[in-house]
Amino acid sequence: MIVDKIYGELCVTCNEQGYLTDLNQWTKDVGLEIAKEENIVMTDKHWDVIDYLQDQCRKQVALSIRKIGKSGVVSIKEFYQLFPNGPLKISSRIAGIPKPVSCI
């Protein structure tokens, strides 16, 4: 199910779990609004991670905690500190990229 959501002055399409269905609709303001919903106060370090995630997504590379740990952007420990309680799913939502899923 696809729903339209309004973030600030922008209307974007999301899936039922609140993940953007099209990265092209993402703006930094949209990311900021989603971060507020996730109770994350964004810093430059947070945005560095978001940039990396979006870049990997555009290159069609599947993301994992291991990949992020080896990215040179953050260590896994730092990643957890930046986005507590499920860093990959939360940062993916803020970045406007799909949630990492398994087959079911």
């Binding site: 199910m1 779990q17 269905t21 957890y80 507590p84 799913k89 990492p100 398994s102 087959c103």
Partner: protein
């Protein structure tokens, strides 16, 4: 004569040997296949072995039994591929020249990737069931285990057969009920994903199973280390989960040979085009099954569907024609839920598993995303299909290599 070389005689490699011996003229093409093992394992059976539902003999046969006449089987370890000279160096110092290479070296567990996973407790209070030895040792443990906290755990994705850990938890519930000791066992399922189910339709249809089977789920747990002495697993957020018996799926990695050859990603999986199965390593190198980095499930059914498409693409490559961009990520998996029932899922890169019937609309006889006894019979029958049809490269009637949408309830899906 031209040389076609297949590395790995597991599910994928054996299927390709059978397909290609029929497809390529014997007067023009030699086909060789290399594997270090002498046994071919029926890997889906590793799920049943720990619960004494299968015996050891049900899951192993001689590897040469399935290699067709006209294909040379070489029993050796592989040192590395030299992509620039079109050769493969074996551990016994033999060099094999190829015109076309197919990498089918699969994936294996890598428990050494997590601090503290190996040690005195390995195969004592910490087990895997993704290897024959691991599954057999776990069976011996479960025969005498008196109960306590059972933790079923996924280290990181991707793993072979992503649903197997959940099936293990379901079958454990059944097993302990049948032994009359379910009250003595606490079952916890620990996953790095956002839940035991991650897709909307599957979550809606199947979430009840966890409650029914009294399985506690701990999501978003990315393990940092195992404290074997105190029987705890600890994640990067310093969250701790204690266990009496840990059944883990360690990190899955491609063969070390891929790393020695100078390509592969950080888990030694081969960069491969997800639609054609040609690698980006070289035009004459193809990859199939668990060895690739494509975003499909690492599963036998995926290898089976890929094999039909890769055979066509090898023929096209030889004829100098453009490759078919046909593989759509099709996978078809039975999921055991215990007590003689199972689910069936059929999906591809873009279509999540949904409800419906399979392989025929309305009449089935198998039901998608729904627990039935018929699905369980299908899973049991699959062992016969595997040994007698699948790895011999015979087409399974009514099941196409690309996903069929008929019989599926698609109107609700995204």
């Amino acid at each position: 004569m031209k040389e076609l070389l297949i590395l790995g005689a597991g599910t994928s490699g054996t299927m390709m040997a059978n397909h290609l011996r029929k497809a390529l003229p014997k007067k023009e093409w030699n086909i060789s296949i290399v594997d270090q093992e002498e046994t071919h394992y029926y890997q889906p059976g590793f799920l049943f072995l720990p619960f004494d539902l299968y015996k050891s003999k049900d899951v192993k046969k001689k590897i040469d039994k399935f290699i067709p006449k006209g294909v040379k089987l070489i029993n050796s370890k592989i040192e590395r591929i030299d992509k620039d000279s079109d050769t493969v160096l074996l551990k016994n110092d033999t060099t094999l020249k190829y015109d076309i290479l197919i990498i089918a070296t699969g994936t294996d567990i890598a428990p050494q990737e997590i601090e503290g996973m190996l040690g005195e407790h390995w195969q004592n209070s910490v087990f895997d069931f993704y290897t024959f030895e691991g599954a057999k040792n776990l069976r011996n443990k479960l025969r005498t285990w008196e109960g306590g906290k059972l933790v079923v755990h996924i280290t990181e994705m991707p793993i072979k057969c992503p649903v197997a850990p959940l099936e293990f938890a379901f079958l454990a519930d059944s097993f302990f009920i049948n032994k009359g000791m379910r009250e003595k066992v606490d079952i916890t399922f620990v996953t790095p994903m956002s839940g035991a189910f991650t897709k909307p339709q599957a979550t809606e249809a199947l979430e009840y199973l966890l409650k029914q089977k009294r399985i506690t789920v701990v999501p978003d747990f990315n393990i940092e280390r195992v404290d074997g002495e105190h029987k705890k697993i600890i994640d990067y957020a310093d969250k701790e989960i204690s266990y009496d018996l840990l059944v883990t799926v360690p990190t899955n990695m491609g063969d070390d040979m891929i790393e020695r050859s100078g390509f592969g990603d950080d888990l030694n999986f081969v960069p491969t085009d997800k639609a054609t199965l040609q690698t980006s390593v070289n035009d004459n190198i193809f990859a199939i099954g668990d060895a690739t980095n494509i975003p499909a499930s690492k599963a036998g059914s995926v290898a089976h569907f890929e094999a039909e498409i890769l055979t066509e693409n090898i023929k096209r490559y030889i004829a100098g024609q453009p490759l078919k961009k046909e593989y759509d990520g099709h996978a078809n998996c039975f999921i055991e839920t215990g007590h003689g029932k199972a689910l069936l899922i059929d999906f591809n890169y873009s279509q999540e598993p949904v409800k419906g019937t399979f392989p025929f609309p309305v009449v089935g006889p198998l039901s998608l995303l729904k627990e039935t006894h018929m699905n369980h019979l299908g899973k049991l029958a699959f062992r016969w299909i595997y040994w007698n049809m699948l790895i011999k490269g015979k087409h399974i009637p009514f099941v196409s290599a690309t996903m069929d949408t008929s019989g599926k309830q698609l109107e609700k899906s995204v």
